[in-house]
């Protein structure tokens, strides 16, 4: 039986991709960012996921203003790398997992999440930058990746609550897949940033730290946050943090925070990163309970607290 073992969230700043592609990772400015992911690379090398579900948003690459799907799941065998205006990034083609993706599609649609399914889709920095941050720059990505593109370009994106619940539905889908697969789900984007208009450059570190705290301990509180609040507090483009809630929804109520990293800036953006592991390592022990009303606030920090490594720079 397949199971989700952990969730990873990370910003997907395009300039990080450019720094990798142009071999500038050793410059002090970029070292500050990349050093924050060294531990993460070690972690994922040990975790060895069989499949990654990559939640990200397309940036006018695969989708223009012609068609704007709220949730688009990639069911293809592979996903080409988009030309974002300066040629495709020199990264490996993203190989999918069409069988698991189709299974997820069927399961979550019957669970009333009306996904758009893509048998052909190019992927952009939104997906490939987090892959680089976690896996480095290999010749081939070490495992198949199922892309899930979320509209955060045209307002309104799906609500945080909808995203959280979609995460739950994805988890249920994964756990009903017969093959024994270890799945890690990535939620990407954020953290606070605004890249448009006279208010561009907005950063709200206080908001970001609170968001990270709540992501671990009290995601249901985050799921209630309005788009207005995201945009006002974390910048117009900061609203894309709703995507992190898909990742969180796919995990257990109680998780261990393994690692956290936060730095300002990467280009125009606050960079945040977190790794959350499910405590329950064997699938099927606890039932995902979509209607559970248990307060997540009960989570004991102690267990996680001892292990957690935090880096701020």
């Amino acid at each position: 039986m397949a199971r989700i073992i952990a969730g990873v969230s990370s910003s997907h700043v395009p300039a990080i991709g450019a720094a990798i592609d142009n071999h500038r990772t050793n410059e002090p400015y970029w070292q500050r960012v990349f050093r924050g992911f060294e531990r993460s690379k070690e972690w994922i090398a040990k975790a060895k996921p069989d499949v990654v579900i990559g939640v990200y948003n397309d940036h006018a690459s695969a989708f223009s203003v012609e068609i704007i799907p709220t949730f688009a799941l990639g069911t293809a065998t592979e996903f080409g790398i988009a030309d974002e205006g300066w040629g495709p990034r020199p990264v490996p083609v993203v190989k999918g997992h069409p069988e698991l993706a189709s299974h997820i599609a069927q399961s979550v649609i019957l669970d009333e999440f009306d996904l758009t399914l893509c048998n052909k889709m190019e992927v952009d920095h939104g997906l490939t930058v987090p892959l680089n941050l976690m896996f480095g720059s290999p010749q081939e990505w070490p495992c198949p990746v199922i892309p899930l593109a979320v509209n955060v370009v045209q307002f309104p994106p799906p609500t945080g609550n909808r995203c959280f619940n979609l995460g739950r539905a994805i988890r249920k889908a994964v756990e009903s897949y017969p093959e024994d697969l270890k799945v890690v789900i990535f939620g990407t984007g954020g953290m606070s940033h605004q890249i448009s208009g006279p208010r561009a450059g907005l950063i709200n570190s206080k908001f970001d730290h609170a968001f990270l705290d709540n992501l671990t301990k009290n995601p249901k509180k985050l799921a209630q946050m309005s788009h207005m609040e995201y945009m006002r507090e974390a910048g117009a483009e900061g609203v894309e943090m709703v995507m992190w809630l898909i990742m969180r929804g796919a995990l257990d109520e109680q998780v261990d925070e393994i690692y956290r990293f936060y730095t300002v800036p990467a280009s125009n953006t606050a960079v945040g990163h977190i790794i959350l592991e499910n405590r329950r390592r064997v699938a099927g022990k606890a039932k995902p309970s979509p209607a559970s009303k248990k307060p997540a606030a009960k989570i004991k920090r102690a267990a996680a607290g001892q292990k957690v490594h935090r880096i701020r720079s």
Partner: protein, 156 residues
């Protein structure tokens, strides 16, 4: 209190210095954004650079949109329905780093903008709201700060 034209007042119009790209702006800026989208192809970038005005003739833009593109008025483009992820392609075609565009939109030099970011970015303090200084609109008492120190409970 209607704002401009037929546009219904939106709660997010209260956020200063921000053009939220919603369905209405998307419709208004459709051709502007599709022009930007066309710049993802090398041959189109070349054709545009060779004769900008002629290239723009291919798109049914409004005169205002056309002027904003030709003059590289990035805020004006957003106001007229452009979206930043699309207009950034125009900046890239000009060979500019994104921070150049950000500097233009914020009315600062690229160096000053980069320095601001290195110093932690633009503070949210004083930049939350047009109507109520630093506070959210009074009508929406629940929309307090989301930070842990905030008293604001989200569900009133």
């Amino acid at each position: 209190m209607a704002t401009a034209k037929s546009k219904a007042e939106k709660e997010y119009d209260d956020i200063p210095g921000t053009f939220v790209f919603d369905a209405e702006r998307s419709r208004q800026g459709y051709h502007l954004n599709m022009f930007c989208m066309s710049l993802m192809k090398a041959e189109n970038r070349k054709a545009f650079k060779e004769n900008e005005a002629k290239y723009l003739d291919k798109f049914p833009l409004t005169p205002e949109q056309r002027e904003a593109i030709l003059k590289r008025e990035y805020n004006r483009m957003l106001e007229l329905g452009g979206n930043i992820y699309f207009t950034a392609k125009l900046g890239a075609t000009d060979g500019h780093a994104f921070q150049h565009l950000a500097a233009v939109m914020t009315g600062s030099s690229q160096q000053a903008y980069a320095d601001m970011m290195l110093n932690g970015g633009r503070s949210v303090e004083g930049n939350r709201s047009k109507s109520g200084g630093d506070q959210p609109k009074p009508a929406k008492a629940k929309a307090g700060k989301p930070t842990s120190k905030s008293k604001g409970k989200k569900r009133g």
